[in-house]
Symmetry: C2
Subunit: 416 residues, 2 copies
Amino acid sequence: MNAEIITIGDEILIGQIIDTNSAYIAKALNKIGVSIHQITSIEDDWDHILDTLKDAQQRADIVIITGGLGPTKDDITKKCLCEFFDDELVKDEGVLAHVEELFRKYIDTPISDLNRMQALVPSKAEVLTNKFGTAPGMWLKKDDTVFVSMPGVPYEMKGLMEVEVIPRIIERFKRPVILHKTVLTYGMGESAIAEKIEDWEDALPPHIRLAYLPNLGKVRLRLSTKGSDLAAMEQEINDQIASLKNIIGEIIRGIEEEDPIEVQIGHLLKKKNASLATAESFTGGRLASLFTEYPGSSAFFKGSVVAYATSAKLNILGVPKELIEEYSVVSNQVACEMAKRVKALYGTDYAIATTGNAGPEKGDSDADVGTVFIAIATPETVYAKEYSFGNHREKVVGKAVNKSLELILDEIYGLK
Amino acid sequence: MNAEIITIGDEILIGQIIDTNSAYIAKALNKIGVSIHQITSIEDDWDHILDTLKDAQQRADIVIITGGLGPTKDDITKKCLCEFFDDELVKDEGVLAHVEELFRKYIDTPISDLNRMQALVPSKAEVLTNKFGTAPGMWLKKDDTVFVSMPGVPYEMKGLMEVEVIPRIIERFKRPVILHKTVLTYGMGESAIAEKIEDWEDALPPHIRLAYLPNLGKVRLRLSTKGSDLAAMEQEINDQIASLKNIIGEIIRGIEEEDPIEVQIGHLLKKKNASLATAESFTGGRLASLFTEYPGSSAFFKGSVVAYATSAKLNILGVPKELIEEYSVVSNQVACEMAKRVKALYGTDYAIATTGNAGPEKGDSDADVGTVFIAIATPETVYAKEYSFGNHREKVVGKAVNKSLELILDEIYGLK
């Protein structure tokens, strides 16, 4: 079963915003067996919208459209849908009542005619209630293709997907099962892996696809298949992974869970009733941001000292001045001290500390650009490792964040 | 002049990664007068790639392709390009030497035949040197359309765009000027603004486009035009903005610079030779991450205490226990104290502090979900403001980050 995603809005085409909606929608649809054939981003332009709708209809069973549903004149999606479906706008009393309630409860400015016009929908549309905003979602059908239109505001779109769109697709479409399993490897480049597993790869049955996903120090190998018998598919993929382990077992770290690694770390810490803090120099709070992104993270994550300046390492973390003078601020010793101190400050069981030089120029130390120390403090011990992450700022920070997560996960798993 | 972007890779279609490349490319091209007509994301699928190349050629002067250039079998872009251009792969000695050098210098594993195959390029391609990776960029032409193919790894793509692609486009194409100016407003909803400025909007000449960009507490009004005489275009847009100020001057905060607000704050602080620290509760290090994203931020940003747990507010920031007991951890008093303390800890001129309840459940206080206090400490004073940012975690954190940046910018500008 094939879907396409169409995002409408000039702001994407001029690069003013990054399209995060499509990844969310793709993931949510994949989970229920719907493959995404194409994602297309276009401007708020009448002809281009109509052409794109027509093209997508040729190829897809479901077309998910986001954007262009605001109350202002630059938003024309609803009118385009009327043209495409040979339909007209009619007032939906349910939407009107909802818009009026939103204004009464949450919005300072008085409701206006423009706001009330959000209640106009194509007469052929099934209205999808948007709990978080004034623009309703719409479900329409042309020949054998379903078109779903939603606002582009991410949390409104997500609410609609969860509560209105996904349940309807599950109920109304017979879907295959899509199964992805991603094998996590560390320590070998993608081409070196490819050579090692060439025979295995060539022998894969054609309904199993293999993809290599290299990313800042790790390579993920994704196996994908589609079918109707989940148990048999699981069995087949697991057998393939077992053979793979015979070839490159030493670099396989496990199977990637649905959850991102920072969430896995949280789950494991909560199970152990253990807690974590971070002391971050050049990673600048990125580790803390990752851990606090999810509800409930306060149960294991206690906080972070972002010690970007050397003075902060001295005054807040209390790293001894002599240590910095003797070993420099980018050193194994200072990283360990940062981890120990932040663990004591926050009274946690574990801590991560980062210090390094992300470039583009040398900072408070003589360390080469790209030199990084990551320290891990555990209930029993503290240690640091040195890395050289190249000469590109974004890459150095990204690799250090990945490596920090990998090191702490290994610790908690008891792999170290 | 029209461009299209094609991103190739299953990982985008299954939602495993967010496509950040397209926004970067779109912005970079817009800056030199190239409009993006469409962005298309497709799988590593032979027929689909060829169809998409054909379609894009009909509409665009330049087609920018990313992805599918890895050394492994799932990557087929180079072979598709050969088919599309009726060409064959030949070895490029320059690329080979570069790949060999990269392996000697930076990569642990020995170079393999697969790596050497990165030096194979279509014979008709002009090779673009990829300083940061083994897959070269390629510049090809079919009839009147230029096709540029680059790897999908973001920092490799960015390096190629900056050094190879943009300079060639500037040199080889006559381009119009594209001018966007974005007026920042705070405190009024998009539909209320639309009603107020309706007459002005209706009177805009057809070559000026207006877009409303509402986002968590602010509405940006973007005026766009295209032409050849930049000075005249600037004048015309500025005149329109002047008329707009006569209508809604009280909610206009300024014209959005090219730079994001956190960079503007950095510039202003550096000019004043002043410094900043943050104390973050539920924003969890997001403010620190934003400030430290840019090279040179250590000149003004000294660090952050992420005090996610109440104990961290007590022990690290030193907020008095009695204050928390009397007013609760989500209060004006505690926010001010956090700002004062973190400013003293880091020895900075300014500080921002956040405390609040982002939900979904109540935390260490009885404050309603969505209740937020943001405190600003300046060389002279400290104050906090209370906000109610709704019941959606992501939205509460996002609005608080935006509002914090707005408050500190106003302080530094001397608007407060």
